[in-house]
Structure formats: C-alpha cells, structure tokens
Symmetry: C2
Subunit: 440 residues, 2 copies
Amino acid sequence: MAKSTTCVCLANTFLFLSLVLFLLLLHLWTLSSFYSPIPIIHSPFTKAKSEPQLEPDGVVGSPNCAAHELCDPPEKSFYDNPGLSYSIEKPMKNWDEKRSDWLKQHPSFAAGARDRILVVTGSQPLPCENPIGDHLLLRLFKNKVDYCRIHGYDIFYNNAYLHPKMDSYWAKFPVVRAAMLAHPEVEWIWWIDSDAVFTDMEFKVPLHRYNNIDHNLVVYGWPNLVYEDKGNKSSTSLNAGVFMIRNCQWSMDLVNDWAEMGPNSPNYKKWGQIQLSTFKDKTYPQSDDQSALIYLLFKKKDKWGNKTYVENEYYFQGYWVEIVKTYDNISEGYKEVEIWEPKLRRRHAEKLSEYYAKLREPYLEDAGYKKRWRPFVTHFTGCQQCNGNHNPMYVGDTCWIEMQKALNFADNQVLRNYGFVRPDLMNSSFVSPLPFDYPA
Amino acid sequence: MAKSTTCVCLANTFLFLSLVLFLLLLHLWTLSSFYSPIPIIHSPFTKAKSEPQLEPDGVVGSPNCAAHELCDPPEKSFYDNPGLSYSIEKPMKNWDEKRSDWLKQHPSFAAGARDRILVVTGSQPLPCENPIGDHLLLRLFKNKVDYCRIHGYDIFYNNAYLHPKMDSYWAKFPVVRAAMLAHPEVEWIWWIDSDAVFTDMEFKVPLHRYNNIDHNLVVYGWPNLVYEDKGNKSSTSLNAGVFMIRNCQWSMDLVNDWAEMGPNSPNYKKWGQIQLSTFKDKTYPQSDDQSALIYLLFKKKDKWGNKTYVENEYYFQGYWVEIVKTYDNISEGYKEVEIWEPKLRRRHAEKLSEYYAKLREPYLEDAGYKKRWRPFVTHFTGCQQCNGNHNPMYVGDTCWIEMQKALNFADNQVLRNYGFVRPDLMNSSFVSPLPFDYPA
C-alpha cells in the first residue's frame, strides 16, 4: 500500500513539474514573439553585375517589402499596366482596387493612409502680366508651404498646362488627375487656388466629418442654393476654387464628367450656353468649372450630390471682403485669451503647433471664437493677381493691399515660432522681436 | 498513516493547483500589458473650465508625453527661460545641453533625429526690381519644395529681414539662428541661396561623410585654396551660398563670429578692409560673408577649420556656367542606361523616388556617371535674378535663359512621376505625355 502511494505521489510530482515547465515555456515564448524582427527574404531577382550595394542607410532592392522598408516589390501594380494613362483624356477604371492593391504591396504607407493629404496648387507657366503678380504668387505659395509644414502635409505646385486646351480655372483638373496617380498613398487631394490664403495656421480640416458618412468631395457653399430654387440658380452657390477630393474611383468619374464641360470637350460651347441659361448671375458665355460643378450636383444628386459635402460650418474657404475686416478683432481676441492663460503664451517648437492648437480651442470657444468664425482660408476671388484684371468693384489697389494684409496676418502666426512679428500688417518689410511671455 | 498520506496528497494537489493558477495569471498579465494603453494622468495643471475635450483624433494636453504622442510636457525646457532670445545679437550658451534635454522630453522626435534636415532659403521682402525676378524666384522655390517633398525634408522660406541691418547675403544668418531654435528636432540646417537649383532630384547628401568624423559645417570649395597660399588667397576658395550647418553650440558660436563681420557689427568697415587686403580677387570694399568664412577657417583652423568639411567630391553646389552644358549629355546617358535596364523604366509613386535612386546608382557608376559629375546643385552665382544686376560677363539674357533651362531640366525629373515632360528645355509652356516604358 505504501509503495503504490509513493508511486502516485511521484507521478503527481512529475505531472506537476511538467505542467509548470510547460507554462513557463509558454510564458517565455509569448514574451519573445513580441521582440523578434520579421525576417527579410532575398530572391535572385537582382542581377549580380548590378547588385545595389548596401549603403550606410541600408536601403536595398528587396523583392519583399517589409512593413518599415521603402521599396517597390517586383509584383505588378497598376503602374505596370501599359494601358495606364496620366492624361485626363483617358478615363480611369477600377481605381479603388488598383489603389488598394498598391497599398497592400507597400505596407510602409498603410499606417496613416486614411488621413493622408496632398495639397495641390499652381499658376500659369509664364510670367504674370501684372507687375506685382509673381511677387504675390511667391508669397501665396510660401503661405501654403508654411501651412503644410506645420501640419505635415505634402504640397505640389503645378506650373504647366498638362492639357494644352485646359488653362485658367480648368488647368487644375489634369493636375488633380495626375496627382492621384502619382500619389496612391494619399487619401485626399486638396486643391487650393493660388489666390487663397491660409489665415488660420492652427486650424485643421475636420476630416472625421467626411469619413463617417463617406463623402468624397468637400466644397464650401450653401446646400439650399445648390439643390433648391430650380428656377433661380446662382453660379456662386458654392466655390470650386478650394476643394478636397478623395483619391478614389468616384472622384475619377467626377473629374471626368466635370472636365467634359471644359475647353477640351467637343461640347464646350454647348455647356457654356446651358450654364448661361441655368444660372441667372453668370455673366460670360464660356463654360466655367464652378457652374459646371453646381450643375452636376443638382442634376445628378444621387450620383454626385449625395457624396459631396457642401460645407459652411467653418471657412473652408471664405470670401476675402468679409474676412479681412475680422483680422484685427481676432488678433485682439487671441491676445486676451493668451493674457488670461499662461499655457498658451508658452514658446515652443514649430513642430508642436498642432498640440497648442488643441490646447487653445476650448479657450477660443469659451471666448466666443467658434470654429465657424475662424478665418481659416481667405480667398481673394475676383482679384486675378496674375493678369491683374480684377473685378472692377474692387477699386484701385484694394486687392493687392488686402492680400498683403492677409499674408502678413498669416505669416505673423508662422514667424512667432521663429521669435518675430510684423507689428504693422501693412508693412511687409519691418519685423520686430517678440518678447518672452508675449502678450502678458 | 493512511489519513496523513491523504493529507499530504491533498496538500500537494492544492500547492500544485495554486502554482498553476499563478503561472496562468502571470501569462495573462504579460499578454495584456502589451495591449493596454498607457494611462493618461491628468494633473490639476489644467483648469476644469477649460479642460480640452477629447477630439476624434485623441490628442489631449497630457503632462507625460508618451513615445508616440505629440505633446509638450509641463517640465521646463529652454523655451521657458526668459533669457532665451531668437535674435542673432544675443549669443546662445549651452545649446547642446538644451537641445538634448528637449529631445529627451519629446521622445516622439528622437527617432531619426540624427539625420533630420531643415532646408532654409529665401529672398527680399519687397518685389524684385528685375521684371522677371519674382517669376524666377517662384520657380526656384517650387524647385526646392519638389526636392524636399521627394526626400521628406521640411523647408522654410524666409522673406523678412530679421535684423534690419542684415540684408543681402547677410540676411541668412539671423534666419539660420532663429530656425535652429524653432526646430530643435532637426540635426542639420541646410541653407541654400534662392539662385541655386536642385538639378539632380534623386541625389542625396551623403550625411555619413560628416557624421563619422563629426564635422559641423559643410561647404563646397577647395581646401588647398582655403588653407594654403597665404599670400594669394582667393575669395572664391569656397562658396558660402549653400551650406549645411549642424544644430549645435559650435554652430551657434560660428554664426556669432561670422555675423561679427557683418553690417550689424561695429567692426563692419574694418573687416571690409581686412578682406580687401587678404583676398586679391575681392573687388568691393564691403565685408562679405564668403570672404568672412574663408578668413575664419584659415585664421582659426583649430576652432573652425577642423570641424568644417570643404567638400568637392560632388557638386554640393556647382558653378552654373560649367554645369548647364552637361545637361544634354546627362539626359542622353540616363536614357541609355534606362534602355538597357527595364527596372529603371518602371513607373512608380513619387514617394518611391529614393528607392529608384538607389537602384539606379550602380548603373550610373558603371556607365561612367560618377557621383562627382552628377549635377546635384546648379548655382547661378553672379546672376542676381531679383535686382537684375548680373555680372556683366554674362551677356544679355544669358542668366535667365540658362536658369530657365536648369529649372526645366530639374522639373522634368519631377513631372515624370506625374506622367509628363517638357520636350524642349527652352520652352517652359509646352509639356507632352510620357509614353509607357519610356525610353524603350
């Protein structure tokens, strides 16, 4: 009896120790699987003669792209299709699938893809006729580069007519089309006219408004004007000089139909006539992109309208005449908020601008500066800084004077992080240092 | 006896089960600690009234900055020192320590800090006197923005005189000084004159050349001319219009001593005289930044020269008269290489440019296009596109014509990824689509 009891105890002990060992090994394996790197597999794809040498930064042509690695695998993507065209004349098909496959092949771009933005802007290839035109274009471009740097967006400036017939306000369509193909890693192409100024450097487009209900186009305007009053439509129901368009097949189709009303289309003249009779406030016979978009939205609401967000709860773009007069008031208001709250006066790296933007928001809301009134984008519609043929209702040099004021107002927000300010918005030349703990 | 054996077995079983349970719990805790978020601790630092609301993107003012989080902790950094000045008139002390502390407080910027670059350039605040000047500045700026986008560098364009007396070629010093403070996350400030064009979009500065032996300044020039021939020094032994300067205390000290020879210094006139007598080829009496640097390097070789890399093994900057005539040859050479190797003809996303640059390198080397001959930067020294007062040896419109050629040569490398090319480098207006598998 004693012997069998001993055997049972020994067996129990053995079982017990085995189970303990097993659990320990399981624990250790779990720990290690979080730390070991994904192995890189090299294939015979590259010829020996031209085998790229491993440079100190370690980028080598590899057939399999690891998640962290910048590379182009040999598997075909849409780029390898001989039928691919960057031209607006050739409609794109299956773009959603093509783009999605490309992202799977390039995992290093997958993280953050959903909110990635490319800002696109531009001007004519040749020097401006207006003597001050190019100087203003230079400052307007700097303004956009500053905004993009602060928010981590890429920007592309176009100065070529990618389609010889599509100039003026039609020039953006071939550019947007080409940019979508050149940048499959971006979700949104944000076209912004050269004459639009970012005048609130901290403000960010609230992308979640458009992602949740799956809109593919964002423009500033008034939905009631776009969709109602069918007998009395206005060609300024929205503004087509600033829009965000999702990098997807729907957008490819829209750009196609939109450009169909442009100067490269055989129906260009017809569309001009249709727009003249549809929009009572249209004053010239040529088909324009803005009237064209409004027409598409209300005529085909199911197809185009339902996926277009006609935004007016903040100045996605704002008419300059209304906005420029608010700058002084806003500067004063921000100063008061900062005098009250020391955190907001704190000097910081430019790279932390978004953090301070978030900190500032509730204080601005409390002080009455709701998002809808913040001067996000000041759009100098009707000014025509390049050819100088501004709308005659803007007398003399009003356009250039106010544009300078807007640019300096914006640049002060940038310069602040470099320690300086232009105290006089009408004087672009003079800057002075900002004291510590300004404006306390 | 039987009873006590039963008790021992029961005790063993109990012990066994307890240990198993303990190990299981340990295992589960290990698993969960990899997945649960780092708790955000709210301190009484923020007032309840203005508690920032959690926005959909989740950035909240947090006293502790996690590695992935964009935030500014309440612990003081150099920014919180009332003595901090962005102005070039106030020398900086202990910058290495201040910058290092800032990086520790902001771990999200630590990764990649060693190679991070900020490109800085700019022009005068007011419109150019030369009618074509601003148009060229616009194109020159676009060129730099394209290069930076391809390589993931930030760029800052300055158009203010941060010190009222420091204009012309002296204007860059206050800007570089301020940029170092505004961007503690960058290791290198890369100043590039407005009249310098990136004409090899794939070429990257080989930073490892300067990191290994710990140089803090990179300029293009000829070391023998800088350090030897003491009786016959040349003011063009190097070029000060393009330089990379490390974001460190040594650089702060250099910028200080360098600017001491500038127009904001009481010794400005004296330095002009010293430079005239030192450099036999200097033609005007005002102290200039280039002569100033050469003087500092050879006079104080231990302090300045030994940490300055006078580069000439590639065109860190190249004299335009020599470089522009090589473009056609280079275009032909690249075409031949691409005809031979299909991998290099493959269309791809612009974001993969660096990958294809690496692929191409060994083929270029094999074909004789060594790094030293690649037209990295074409510098239009002596052209003065803004005021138009070019060196008279450049007859008529030579400067503007060749600058346009350089810009188009560079832009073709960018446009290619958007599907187009300017077939005639002398015609900025006309582009045509690039066929699939070009140039096969």
